[in-house]
Symmetry: C2
């Protein structure tokens, strides 16, 4: 370890796993996994992604999953440093994109204190990928000119204050981790006279277990109830939602040309 | 062709190529390319991506590149239909994500009129991937809680009106195709007293030809001038920009563990 430390700095590579489907990771991400010695992965990462790692690779679940110890952020930070020094490099595999509500900065900053250099291989953010898989354009000429991504779950557990400004704008609004705030969201849109705005709720997007409800502000809660949509889920709100296509794959299958 | 048409609907697959680096496409995107019979690709798509297609595949550039005919949107739509009927399926390879200012909807709707079914394989949007490659979190706990993506070039050539609302918010603002509107952007931020806000300008993001300027509203134009940053470029504006890391790769190299 000492020799290692003298000649080469340990390295942290943060890899975005994308929305869930194991084929929606980048080629660069797969290459990072295939040459990894240790992978620390989140609970939302599809288990098939671990098949991209080599036989000798140490794969460690650091997220919340039943029957496993759930690590707090400071514990994950410490594991990164421990393994980076022990193995020379660590791959941190995170759901979606590491920098979109992914707390990657905290891991990079902590590693940096210990002389560990970091790089990032971006992943597909659920905020752009899931509307796409459903044929919903985030932007469409003549309909809207921007999209705004907010979190439904801030540090204090509340929806971000930015939501209230976003809802008043003409942007497509995407609320990540928004399921538990659906009531707050619909009540606010109603209060500003936007009860007919289209909205989609997607749970487990891109996986076979995906559940989707598409309606408008006024009826979405009943639909979500009926379809028993739970967490984690994202909300997509705006006129573009109505361009979704039933013909597009409702859950992503591994790509085939048939 | 007739027999084909009777038994199976022709198919259009829109694939997001990501920001530029040929390894920042998804595995599913690579698979779609490898089984494609015809690929219609944009000028911003890295030529190495065509290596993912098979030998017999017909690769057709439909974007603007010197020495080539540049197709208008309606001509691209017509080519999709022509080839979909001739070959049974067409892959449309588009820079970034097809649904983020990608005009994918227009292609899907046109194809639909001719009985062609579409599906979408999302790509990394430059709006999330390029900040990531530079170590800039789009969101960071305690700093901000959302990001807003707008276009610098609407149908009428102007920056989207949504920009003016976004600039007043606490969201990280990403302006795609924003280089030519940098002056408008900086003037507006100055007019609302945000002259010290960090801003980054990235041209040819993720490619070896990438150029980057990082500064604040007050000095960014001089930096961009000095570094001769042209189009296409994106602007990233917000406190998170200051967390960028010089240690992270300034241009993406093909991933290696060394």
């Amino acid at each position: 370890m000492q020799a290692f430390n003298l000649f080469r700095k340990p390295k942290l590579t943060l890899v975005g796993a994308g929305p869930g489907d194991p084929e929606l990771i980048t080629l660069k991400g797969v290459k990072a996994l295939s040459s990894a010695k240790v992978v620390l992965y989140d609970a939302l990462v599809h288990p098939d992604m671990l098949d991209y790692t080599s036989d000798g690779c140490l794969n460690i679940l650091v997220g919340k999953r039943s029957g496993h110890h759930s690590y707090k952020q400071h514990e994950i930070n410490e594991l990164i440093v421990k393994y980076a020094y022990e193995f020379g490099s660590v791959v941190r595999l995170k759901g979606g994109d590491p920098f979109v509500f992914g707390r990657a900065s905290e891991e990079i900053e902590y590693a940096d204190k210990y002389g560990i250099t970091s790089n990032v291989i971006p992943g597909l953010s659920c905020s752009t990928a899931l509307p796409g898989l459903h044929g919903m354009p985030l932007t469409k000429r003549g309909v809207n000119e921007s999209f705004w991504v907010v979190t439904g779950t801030t540090k204090n557990g509340k929806i971000s204050d930015d939501f209230y400004l976003a809802a008043r704008s003409s942007a497509t609004v995407v609320v990540l981790m928004g399921r538990k705030k659906l009531n707050v969201v619909t009540e606010f849109y109603k209060s500003i006279g936007k009860e007919n705005l289209p909205i989609a709720v997607i749970q487990n997007g891109s996986l076979e277990s995906e559940k989707t409800a598409i309606g408008s502000i006024i009826d979405i809660e009943a639909l979500v109830e009926e379809k028993k949509i739970g967490t984690p889920a994202i909300l997509i709100i705006g006129e573009v939602v109505k361009y979704h296509s039933e013909r597009l794959p409702i859950f992503a299958q591994h790509f085939s040309n048939n």
